[in-house]
């Protein structure tokens, strides 16, 4: 945020842009149009599509933290995992309704986010990074040890999920899963978009840029950080529940460092702090991974690595960063 220019016409343009920034632009409909078109053109890829949508929601929740509030974390899988296990444990113990499963997962992950956030957010920088890692590692060990409830390293078995609205059964081809995940992602995106365009969202950007100054103007920095941490955790929990319900299983991998790290990579590929980074980075990474792994199941990691190097060298700031630079554009908001 640079200081506004002194001359009046420029300032008016800035103010206009600021006032219009929450309005929908036609480009924002593109991801949804593409998702619906893919439903009909790639009939055999619905299972992959559903996982991509759920992961986009997960990446979106991470973007709220890293991109907007400037809270760096390497343990975001903790909340994904809490949501997945919450939905999974319910479904394995006689409560099979999927939508209420999502709500419970959001609550459980939100509570975990609030409780851990109240402690770890007292720190910042590398210390914070380590603390978030520790939270995820502790939860993973808990899930590993508590075998009677979580199934330990064998994973949680015996989940049964009812049809959505009692009608749409989760089928072998992933048709229901595709639409289900897409619809939930749409709602999550609406919520996230509203949030970051709100005054609360703007204050987060302020905290990211200069927390001391925000304190000086009287903003409750600590409280806002905990609120966004809780909201982001709840969204991550919904994403975890989506994956758990559509695949009918939860494993220890849901809480792993690998999952947190991979998510960060996907977000970086797309572009951090731009809301749509998740919509580009996640499909790019997951489709590349799927294709490489199908063509060369033994050495596909090499090709992913090569792809990552090229991406890092030639596409700094992620795909959206490249586009913005081409258009002489702006740094992330």
């Amino acid at each position: 945020m640079t200081a506004p220019a002194a001359d009046a016409p420029d300032r008016k343009a800035d103010i206009d842009a600021f006032a219009r920034r929450h309005k929908f632009r036609w480009t924002e409909a593109l991801p949804w149009a593409a998702a619906i078109a893919c439903y009909f053109t790639f009939e055999n890829y619905h299972a992959l599509g559903a996982q991509i949508f759920a992961t986009i929601l997960f990446a979106l929740s991470l973007d709220l933290l890293i991109g907007y509030a400037g809270i760096i974390t390497l343990g975001h899988a903790a909340f994904f995992g809490v949501g997945a296990y919450a939905a999974g444990i319910m479904a394995a113990n006689g409560f099979h309704e999927p939508l209420s499963g999502l709500v419970i997962a959001a609550l459980a992950a939100g509570i975990a986010g609030f409780a851990s956030g109240a402690i770890v957010l007292r720190t910042s920088g590398l210390t914070l990074l380590m603390q978030t890692l520790v939270v995820a590692a502790l939860l993973q060990e808990l899930a590993n040890k508590w075998t009677s409830v979580t199934g330990g390293s064998d994973g949680l078995l015996g989940m049964k999920i009812d049809p959505v609205f009692g009608v749409f059964r989760f089928d072998l081809f992933g048709n229901t899963a595709y639409i289900y995940c897409l619809a939930v992602l749409f709602l999550g995106w609406l919520a996230a978009r509203n949030l970051i365009c709100s005054p609360f969202g703007r204050s987060l950007t302020g905290i990211r840029e200069n927390a001391a100054r925000m304190r000086a103007i009287g903003a409750p920095v600590e409280r806002r950080k905990i609120i966004i941490y809780t909201i982001s955790a709840a969204l991550a929990g919904v994403s975890g529940a989506l994956i758990a319900q559509t695949t009918a299983l939860v494993g220890l991998g849901a809480l792993s460092l690998g999952r947190s790290g991979e998510l960060l990579i996907m977000l970086i590929i797309g572009g951090i702090g731009r809301l749509y980074g998740a919509f580009i980075g996640v499909p790019l990474y997951m489709i590349a991974q799927d294709r490489f792994a199908a063509v060369d199941p033994v050495f596909w990691y090499f090709w992913i690595g090569l792809f990552m190097i090229f991406d890092g060298v030639f596409a700094r700031g992620g795909a959206l960063g490249v586009i913005a630079r081409r258009r002489g554009g702006s740094p992330p908001q």
């Binding site: 790639f42 055999n44 890829y45 299972a47 992959l48 996982q51 590993n144 040890k145 075998t147 199934g151 330990g152 390293s153 064998d154 994973g155 078995l157 072998l172 081809f173 992933g174 994956i243 695949t247 009918a248 299983l249 494993g251 220890l252 991998g253 499909p283 790019l284 489709i287 590349a288 294709r291 792994a293 199908a294 063509v295 199941p297 033994v298 596909w300 990691y301």
Partner: protein, 397 residues
């Protein structure tokens, strides 16, 4: 993304071409799911080599006109990915059989799909005891830890060793091994003097071995996942003089898989393990298996029990293809598998138990000793035709 999509389309088109071309001849399409990447990739490699070797050796013996097509997919040691690739193999590639799978969570994730799609799954490693219960379309040619550790416990009790101490890796397979050994040992009249569990990731074994030593048991049952940890465990036992203190060390074959023997070296001498397969097994079928292996891999790899289990899984599938001339439905293949048996496995005589679709096999009690400067395995006792004891102890509800 576009190039990825285009290659996807091309691949799809190629698959369709393959499908229509295959309709004139008889194409048998098998989907192999394995952990080519992730923390289980070393195990997956051992299994893959056994599977590939069998295909290479016996592809020419298939009935005339039958063509084998194998599609391989990586589960990354991750159940979600495993489930998704299984789903894609069934719906997109239209495979008639699923095969392989190293990790138990992946197998548990894939199993429910097989019932819905009526596509049989032949498991050639994943040893979680309950997995074959999940779907009636699951058949296993590998083993369960209960199958090895219960007979080992009984055998140890029979040696007149009165007290035992168990030390296992603290995750589910470790808990299985502990439970199974304890069951066999106490049923045989032995007494458990104590039990410890250590963290599965990079543990320091010394304090745990010290606790065993302090308890002065007649026998210590150790269990770590197959791989590099075995050497660390045995080193700690040697450094603290566990054996000199009068404690024998027993384990399942995970503590001394064939490819680890050169790394373990003389610290493994005196160790006793229970297992399904060893390269030192004196059986004609094993000799033939090793000769084929040597010809193919020329000393660059050592087979272990995973390779033998993968090889046997393919033997069963090939027998089924020969019996049906390559024309079979999922149910027909399953029916063949559930009554399948052979005396010609590198492991000896093996069979599928029709009631549980799990394998019945001999469990060998082996002693590891130094011979010409090399650690070798000597099979000196065996328990014949062991069924998975877990299934008898936990009848279906």
């Amino acid at each position: 993304m576009f190039s990825a999509k285009i290659s996807g389309i091309l691949l799809g088109a190629a698959a369709m071409l393959g499908f229509t071309a295959g309709a004139c001849a008889q194409t048998v399409k098998i989907g192999i799911i394995s952990s080519y990447s992730g923390f289980l990739s070393q195990a997956a490699d051992e299994m893959e080599k056994g599977i590939n070797l069998h295909i290479k050796e016996y592809e020419k013996t298939l009935p005339a006109g039958v063509k084998l097509e194998v599609v391989r997919r990586d589960d990354g040691s991750n159940p979600e990915t495993g489930k998704r690739v299984a789903q894609e193999l069934i719906t997109r590639d239209r495979v008639q059989l699923l095969f392989g799978i190293v990790s138990s969570p992946v197998a548990a994730a894939v199993a429910p799909l097989t019932a819905e799609a009526k596509v049989p799954l032949v498991i050639t490693n994943a040893a979680g005891a309950g997995i074959t219960r999940i779907s009636p379309y699951v058949v296993r040619t590998s083993f369960t830890l209960w199958q090895e550790a219960v007979p080992l416990g009984q055998w140890a009790a029979k040696q007149g060793w009165k007290t035992a101490f168990t030390a296992v890796s603290d995750f589910l397979p470790g808990h299985d091994a502990e439970g199974a050994f304890t069951k066999g040992y106490t049923d045989g009249g032995g007494k458990i003097a104590g039990a410890v569990r250590f963290p599965p990731a990079n543990p320091d074994f010394a304090p745990f071995v010290q606790r065993i030593k302090d308890a002065k048991p007649d026998v210590a049952f150790l269990w770590v996942p197959a791989g590099a940890q075995a050497t660390g465990m045995l080193k700690a036992a040697r450094d603290l003089g566990l054996r000199e203190a009068g404690t024998k060390i027993v384990s399942t074959q995970d503590l001394a898989p064939d490819e680890e023997l050169p790394n373990i070296g003389d610290i493994g001498a005196g160790l006793i393990t229970a297992g399904t397969y060893s390269t030192y097994g004196e059986r004609p079928a094993n000799k033939a298996f090793l000769a084929a292996w040597e010809k193919e891999y020329q000393g660059k790899a050592i087979p272990d029990f995973l390779s033998a289990h993968g090889w046997d899984g393919m033997t069963m599938v090939f027998d089924m293809i020969r019996a049906t001339n390559g024309k079979f439905t999922g149910d027909e293949a399953l029916k063949f598998f559930t009554t399948w048996k052979t005396d010609n496995s590198p492991r000896g005589s093996i069979a599928i138990d029709p009631a549980t679709r799990d394998i019945v096999q001999d469990i060998y009690i082996r002693r590891h000793e130094m011979k010409d400067g090399k650690l070798v395995t000597v099979e000196f006792d065996s328990i014949k035709q062991v069924k998975d004891p877990w299934k008898e102890l936990n009848p279906p509800k």
